[in-house]
Amino acid sequence: MINEENRLVDSAKSQYKQNGSKSKILQALETEDIKAYFDDALENQLVLNMGPQHPATHGVLRLLVSLDGETVIKSVPDVGFLHRGYEKLAENMTYHEFIPHTDRLDYLSPLANNVAYAMAVEKLIKVEAPLRAQYIRTICCELARLASHLVWMGSMAMDVGALTVFLWGFREREKILDILDILTGVRFTTSYTRVGGVSLDISNEAITAIKKFLNEFEPNLKDCRDLIERNRIFINRCENVGYISREDAIAIGLTGPNLRASGVKRDLRRDEPYLVYSKLDFEVPVHTEGDTLARYYVRIKEMYESKKIIMQCLDKLPQGSIDASNTKQVLPKKEKVYTKMEELINDFMIVNFGNLPEKGAETYFAIEAAKGELGFYIISSGTGYPFRLKIRSPSFCNIQALPIMMKGCLISDIVAIMGGLDPVMGECDK
């Protein structure tokens, strides 16, 4: 029995140590300047392992933190616990088959991922969705942004100790999920877009539900804000915590609200307008403080802008088709497949062989998702399967900034910083 235990301990040790030395991630944590720092009389270096199974990491993010007392000296994030190999999977399925997989990237805003992917494929095969579909997609993107930011607001407030906001934020998000149920037929993993359009037209019931939700949204959001914005504990835990300068934020590749909280006005909705954003009136909120509180305010203000955008889209929503008319590349409607020969053939070809872009065609398309720039780089081989599909996921690059934000902070601030950064591991790990 004892021998058995010893053997287990030995195998654990050998996994921990490689080639007689420490594992690679520990080596990454111990750089020369750290060693110099710890060369003091106390010698109180402590390596703390946070996650991957830690509730505050919002998924499966692992952090190795090197501590001096309670102060963080250096941290090394370790990702990949949710790696499902989507880029490899994408090379082995048609363009349509990959749409459900995009739901699982940023699972808090699946609609935005659907839209980004469908538009990247459309750019590749040179199809454009009709205007009505573009308006519906814009509404979808902004609903997804609202849902994502509401979850972020709740979970971040919970990270710093305010549980009520979590419940109230989720209550609001639940209403969005109910709208998605009416709009797309599914509450969570929507798979709503198709190449060339969307799967279902927006019904009057959905429009009424969205309007009802938006009318109630601002007072409800105000209730949440009242709980935390003048709360001394919340302010103290967020202000000047997780600071990242404008230069660092640009250099480390932050995008989205995290970058805008450091004073860079970068929003692809304005800089590279897609869908119908160029026709809409909205502001891009920017803060210059670069701390967690600034990131909080940027996201809160974005929610009001999203509301404005959806209202405008509902007002301007044109009549017309929701699918592009290019029948060889766009899935025909089911009733036509069952009654018309031509559509049946096209449906069979698209389902079995996929969309056929030009051989060697390459494209990149990015949208401003809730977390930042979500882009798809697609290389075609001329067959129905993509030759290479690269997902530029915003969370991946945002998590890279964690060590900069955490340097010198206290151990209890780690949770607040992670909450303020809003990473989603499904997207980071692909």
């Binding site: 490899k88 590749l124 250099a251 494209t363 780089y377």
Partner: protein, 161 residues
């Protein structure tokens, strides 16, 4: 979008302009195809003189051809010009090596680690070239075209009973 190419061309048209620099397009974006040995030099010029201050993405590609099998595509963004440009570098089939861009854009760190993890492209002078998604003891490069979709049996060692 036409102007950004003119600016880039004017800044790069010094006497030491490398041979083999080609201009092409990736859908509606401009792309510079350049030899691997000039990469850092051109990246520094683009950053300091044309204000391409963000490296957004690094795309590794396995073309699965006999020569120049691997390719790295850099996706640059300029916050001042509000423009995007791509750099494309072809790499050797047997020994895919390229200079790291971490010294120019720190965001290259994880992006290059991902390309290393998935394709086995070695980035020289990279500060921390470890695998990022797969475990350290994994022997293969999963996004290479000769790696099967279903994986290789025994590639991941499970804990012994």
């Amino acid at each position: 979008m036409a102007e950004i190419l003119d600016i880039v061309k004017s800044k790069l048209s010094s006497p030491k302009l490398p041979e083999g620099l080609k201009y092409s397009k990736i859908s509606d974006y401009h792309c510079l195809e350049l030899p691997a040995q000039n990469l850092v030099e051109i990246a520094e010029t683009l950053k300091s003189e044309v204000d391409f201050d963000q490296l957004i993405d690094v795309v590794g590609v396995d073309r699965f051809t006999k020569n120049n099998r691997f390719e790295v595509i850099y996706n640059l963004w300029s916050n001042k010009q509000k423009a995007r440009i791509f750099l494309r570098v072809s790499l050797d089939s047997k020994k895919p090596e390229i200079e790291s861009l971490c010294s120019v854009w720190p965001s290259a760190n994880w992006l290059e680690r991902e390309a290393y993890d998935m394709f086995g492209i070695t980035f020289l002078n990279h500060p921390d070239l470890r695998r990022i998604y797969m475990m350290d003891e994994f022997q293969y490069y999963p996004l290479r075209k000769d790696y099967p979709l279903m994986g290789i049996p025994g590639a991941v060692e499970l804990p012994k009973k």
